[in-house]
Symmetry: C2
Subunit: 433 residues, 2 copies
Amino acid sequence: VPVLDATHDPAITTWVPSGRGHGDFPIQNLPLCVFSTGDAQRHGGVRIGDELLDLAALTDAGLLDGAAAVAAAVAGAGPDLNALFALGAPARQALRQAVHRLLSAGAVEQPLVAPLLHPVAGCALHLPARIGDYTDFYAGRNHAEHVGALFRPDNPLPPNYDWVPIGYHGRASTVRPSGAPVPRPSGQRAQPDGPPVFAPSEQLDYELELGIWVGASPTPGRPVPIGRAGEQIAGYCLLNDWSARDLQRWEAQPLGPFLAKNFATTVSPYVVTPEALAPYRIALRRPAGRPGPLPYLHAELDQREGGLDIGLEVSLSTAAMRDGGRPPAVLARSSTTELYWTPAQLVAHHSSGGCELQPGDLLGSGTVSTAGDDGLGCLLEATRGGRVAVTLPGGQTRTYLADGDEVVLRARAARPGVAPVGFGECRGRVVVG
Amino acid sequence: VPVLDATHDPAITTWVPSGRGHGDFPIQNLPLCVFSTGDAQRHGGVRIGDELLDLAALTDAGLLDGAAAVAAAVAGAGPDLNALFALGAPARQALRQAVHRLLSAGAVEQPLVAPLLHPVAGCALHLPARIGDYTDFYAGRNHAEHVGALFRPDNPLPPNYDWVPIGYHGRASTVRPSGAPVPRPSGQRAQPDGPPVFAPSEQLDYELELGIWVGASPTPGRPVPIGRAGEQIAGYCLLNDWSARDLQRWEAQPLGPFLAKNFATTVSPYVVTPEALAPYRIALRRPAGRPGPLPYLHAELDQREGGLDIGLEVSLSTAAMRDGGRPPAVLARSSTTELYWTPAQLVAHHSSGGCELQPGDLLGSGTVSTAGDDGLGCLLEATRGGRVAVTLPGGQTRTYLADGDEVVLRARAARPGVAPVGFGECRGRVVVG
């Protein structure tokens, strides 16, 4: 059981009642977010149990000093965490240490801190950062194989897959926080005969992804070497890369997806820090016979523990299921252990040609699917390209999403003897466009 | 001769001596920019002749009123023109009218305005906007045919080309103003045998494009209909979409270009307004036998005069040419008449699925080449994929760019009896990465 420092010690608990037990947000997690209450301005907070600790109020209370005070002040000033991300890992780590101490059972500051907590149910959660650029990768090898096999059964993966962390630029302005509605896009799709039609997409899909928030470069102005690229990661979230498959199939040659994906991307609002996930670091294992990474993507420590072991889940509820009082149906359970590249490799590759990443940039991992059928991260895979419908509890079927369908992504790292770390929800409901 | 209003009247000249004659910046042009002098903050200006009119100082001087005063104030406040773009077309047009009046020969305000001019040679010019998202299109049909023919001689264009304004998202953070050095990127390229190598690109190329600056949506929160999409264009520039062909060939399947293009994009610093280009509107003519646009991309006025007639030029100087006192060599002369889609069609298509464009977004047209050999907008075309070297004055040859090579793009609209409208330079020199 790797207890890395006191903030990971599963024996330490919090005086916040809802932060005890086995929820997503124990005192070992402490994810960052941006929230507002009533008419107040957006500013930074930390989630514990069912409460948000207000970093602006904590700053005003004068309970912090040193780097933690600086970190809380810039996050508390709002309206986003970009300035906190720009401070780099040490400031974020100092803030974590200080908040952990203040929220620990027995902390003498409890009477001063308790009034600075807001029940999350009364708060609005926003995007945690102003996203400069958003990049989506394709690092889920099973997804790439499954999708490739629909079109090229004998040769599903492109020849570059073993070597290149494939990615493309996405649309930053349409990244939305969990809960924002997802209007069905219209666009062009091909017809069997005659010209294409412009109409609402009939093949709207979700994609289950890990999101990565970018922080300060440890080597400003230069590509970040793989040995230091992990330092540039400010945290993680869930990401739903909504995709209109009919639009995508028609538009994507030769330059990749465009309108098929740029109408909406949903992220969970909490920035789960690398510190919180430290106990869940693992080595990513490649399938037998695959080559190792090129030197610019190879570092010993990253090979040994650059991966993450986080359970992922997709659930779906239809309007009829909700009307009938049925709970959402879990469609897939997957894991970040299925990724082919580590987060640090994605960062190092991205910057390797001179494209420096900025604090507040967002990366998506690509769809994270299992090899088998239980953890397919999108309907394109689960329905074999729309050929085999999924049957939901109550008997409804889906090949792609219907209006009113609500998709919720969840993530949770858990292992016996270690405190669990949850991500909260990444929720989006399809509405008429 | 279409004299649309007094600001287009070729008989009106300016009291600014360098603004007379046949340069790029007569009083009929008046492009916007962001500049700084010495240690001063960046703020907005208007170019006339060889001078920049300082919009902050003009605001302080109290010489404007109404919408023009508001426009000058927000542009003058700096550090970018996003707020001006957000005001929409009427504010920009009011500013043009007012500045035209103040700079016209005989203006009684001349003694008050003359001190507000800065010689451009002493100013630093910056990106005119904070770019939220940058999108690059592929609307140069000749380029698409030439490039496609390198790989598929019998079937150069993808089947969607006639129907879809093909585009992809680019990298906003590495868009640089004219003059910024262009470090040669490193990246992966395939080898004939064995694994790929990571090394400096050996096939660095330029691409000659028209840039489009996005302004305020006339239909906020909704896709902009083609009939109003032109209103959302704040102005135009030149854009060099630097491309590493060896990296691109290896990485781009299946999701399009990524590191091969995201290391640098250069734009000219002046925002040439739709008003300045109004006399150069034309109908884009499609090759015989091609279908017309789908209804969501079809509007009568856009069909009649949604295109632009702007001459484009690429020139190159090598280090040896400069050392030998040789002038740059013109490699290509092309025209925006070669585009397959109008700027308004690009805007309408982009927003048609729900991806609203924001003031300060940047669009690239795609490489604008002629059908024949005189106006090929990149070396990939000019050298037939690197197979036929280009010979430069003095005898040097190039298949792709060498370190020290400097590429300058220029654009100029001109017709007898109408004042010319130039774009200034889009300049970049390749340096060791």
